[in-house]
């Protein structure tokens, strides 16, 4: 009983760490414009819209976070082998991984923006100075909890994978959850803030991103402020739920029904999430309604 209680406590802590990691990951990727909406940041100068948005999407979020979390996990493991205190090792290793992220961000911004030279998009040195360090700070807040969570899973829950391997697994999953959940909000609600609320961006508007703020030109730092209100927390909840329920069902039900307990619990959880999804889908159809009359469409068809 005591071990189950301990396991649930660790599960809750790992879920909380994952929530922080997910929220910071999405905010970092939006400040650095690393998600899919960056296609519009890259496209805008080609359509004649010069901007001051950061642009570091030379890699998707999942492989980038796979790299950074794995570097942190590998270095932390090496420190721990030499006898360093695990907490100190995790902090220092995460800081070292963030220097790699900083190099990545700087070279990616310079490379991507320089490729737009023939469309007269300048490389802004002050943008590199002001935004790169902010993405690094957010990346630290994402990577440190993620690698700490991996360490907890091994040290307290006895997962067989070594730390670096768990870093790859959960780093990629962190990037996948963050980009899947957060990207639409950054892309539609922020980059195309001038478009109507409650509808997708018409394809004809592509490239015409919002470039001006209340005073002066819009900065990528404002994008982080804006998306931290919904996309960041939503990504955090997404990744937190994934980690929490993955651990929870195993810790609590693994020994039930000759090993099938955790699987049955997983099936039940999937069905519950499916029912919630169907409920909100129907709720949206009822409350928002169709964009055009269905009967008129049938007549015209």
């Amino acid at each position: 009983m005591e071990s189950v209680l301990f396991g649930i406590g660790v599960t809750a802590l790992a879920g909380a760490l994952a929530t922080i990691a997910g929220a910071a990951e999405d905010t970092e990727s939006n400040i650095g414009s690393q998600g899919d909406p960056n296609s519009q940041v890259q496209l805008a100068p080609q359509m004649g819209y010069i901007h001051r948005i950061y642009n570091k999407a030379v890699s998707g979020e999942p492989p980038a976070y796979g790299l950074w979390v794995t570097i942190s996990a590998g270095v932390a493991w090496a420190f721990m082998v030499t006898g360093m205190n695990p907490v100190l090792a995790l902090v220092i290793a995460s800081a070292l991984a963030i220097f790699v992220q900083g190099v990545y961000a700087t070279t990616a911004y310079l490379g991507r923006t320089a490729s737009l030279a023939k469309f007269e998009q300048p490389v802004y040195i002050d943008v590199i100075k002001s935004v790169t360090t902010v993405t690094m700070a957010h990346a630290f807040v994402a990577v440190f909890p993620a690698v700490s969570m991996c360490y907890l899973i091994i040290a307290a829950l006895n997962h067989p994978f070594p730390l670096a391997l768990l870093g790859i697994v959960w780093g990629i999953a962190l990037g996948a959850a963050g980009s899947a959940t957060g990207n639409p909000f950054y892309g539609k609600e922020r980059q195309y803030q001038s478009q109507k609320f409650g509808a997708g961006v018409p394809i004809s508007a592509s490239g015409n991103i919002v470039r001006y703020a209340e005073a002066g030109q819009r900065s990528s730092l404002d994008n982080g402020w804006f998306t931290a209100k919904l996309a960041g927390p939503a990504s955090g909840i997404c990744f937190g739920l994934i980690v929490f329920f993955e651990l929870w069902r195993t810790v609590l039900f693994e020994s039930a029904a000759a090993g099938w307990g955790a699987i049955i619990a997983g099936v039940v959880l999937i069905l519950i999430f499916m029912i919630i999804d169907r409920y909100i889908e129907v709720w949206a159809r009822k409350n928002y309604g169709p964009y055009k009359s269905e009967s008129a469409e049938e007549v015209s068809a």
């Binding site: 899919d36 519009q40 998707g60 067989p160 070594p162 899947a180 639409p184 999430f273 964009y291």
Partner: protein, 280 residues
């Protein structure tokens, strides 16, 4: 045919010559394993090939909208096919590897654990995508590929906003995402489990060590090969999809036989190398 003449959609049919070459390559890989490795290696290679098939097939179920989905211009999850599938499959591998570490659990429990791990990640991710679309952006889900949702029968056309191909995840896409996660998780775990068994059996004699001593090496090797092969198969399937797919109701879904042949071949060749490192 030049690149300009080639269809941007990548074509639909199966190339018979390429398919025959692929099958010959698979048979050669199995034959090499049969003649130079112990029998356990052949069964491991077949497990790796089946795992690769499951991953390649599963990726076609995952509703991925890429960059257009991030602007609410097309349905699906706003990220890349290979990366989303990898995220789900690796979460499945995490669960499967945990179950495989328990000696009391057999093959079925290990594979089912991996499948549920991948399915659970997709179930939560797809739900959060719809929550952001509906409550954050005020946009209902609508498919651009079918007039009615094949599962619920909901009409789709009127719920598409002007100038877009749809948005969000209609229920069929949600179910497709979960199925894709289940198949990806099961496939990745199958590769891991087969290689783990092989390494656990052969490494003690190679390293002149006790069985318990080689467990960390066997786990690490099998884990990294499973992750690598997962990415190989996910990327191959993503090339077959060419960009975005809504799920099992998307016309692009019919291309999956071609991906299965490609993934089986890639898995056979990669699997052979994974076997040779402990045999030669």
């Amino acid at each position: 045919m030049t690149a300009i003449e080639a269809s941007s959609s990548g074509g639909e049919g199966i190339n018979p010559v390429a398919s025959v070459i692929a099958i010959v390559l698979i048979l050669i890989a199995i034959a090499i394993a049969y003649f130079i490795a112990p029998p356990v290696a052949v069964s491991a290679l077949i497990g790796v090939i089946v795992g690769g098939l499951l991953i390649g097939f599963g990726v076609h179920f995952v509703p991925v909208g890429g960059a257009p989905a991030a602007m609410g211009q097309s349905p699906g999850i706003a990220t890349g096919v290979a990366m989303l599938a990898a995220g789900a499959g690796l979460a499945g591998l995490f669960g499967g590897a945990w179950a495989a570490a328990n000696p009391e659990f057999g093959f079925a429990i290990v594979i089912a654990s991996g499948a549920i791990g991948g399915g659970l990640l997709m179930a939560i991710t797809c739900l959060m995508v719809n929550i952001v679309y509906i409550f954050g952006m005020g946009i209902p889900a609508a498919s651009g590929k079918v007039a009615k949702d094949p599962i619920t029968g909901d009409t789709q056309e009127a719920y598409k906003s002007q100038g877009t191909e749809g948005h969000g995840l209609p229920f069929i896409s949600y179910v497709g995402g979960v199925i894709g996660g289940l198949l990806g998780g099961a496939g990745g775990t199958l590769i891991y489990y087969e290689l783990l068994k092989l390494y656990s059996e052969l490494l003690p004699s190679i390293l002149s060590a006790e069985a318990a001593q080689v467990v960390p090496i066997a786990v690490s090797l099998a884990g990294i090969f499973a992750i690598g092969m997962f990415l190989v198969n996910a990327v191959l399937a993503a090339y077959n999809i060419t960009g975005t797919i809504e799920g099992p109701h998307d016309p692009k879904f019919k291309r999956f036989p071609r991906a299965i042949i490609g993934c089986a071949t890639a898995s056979a060749v990669c699997g052979l190398f994974a076997i040779l490192i402990v045999v030669v």
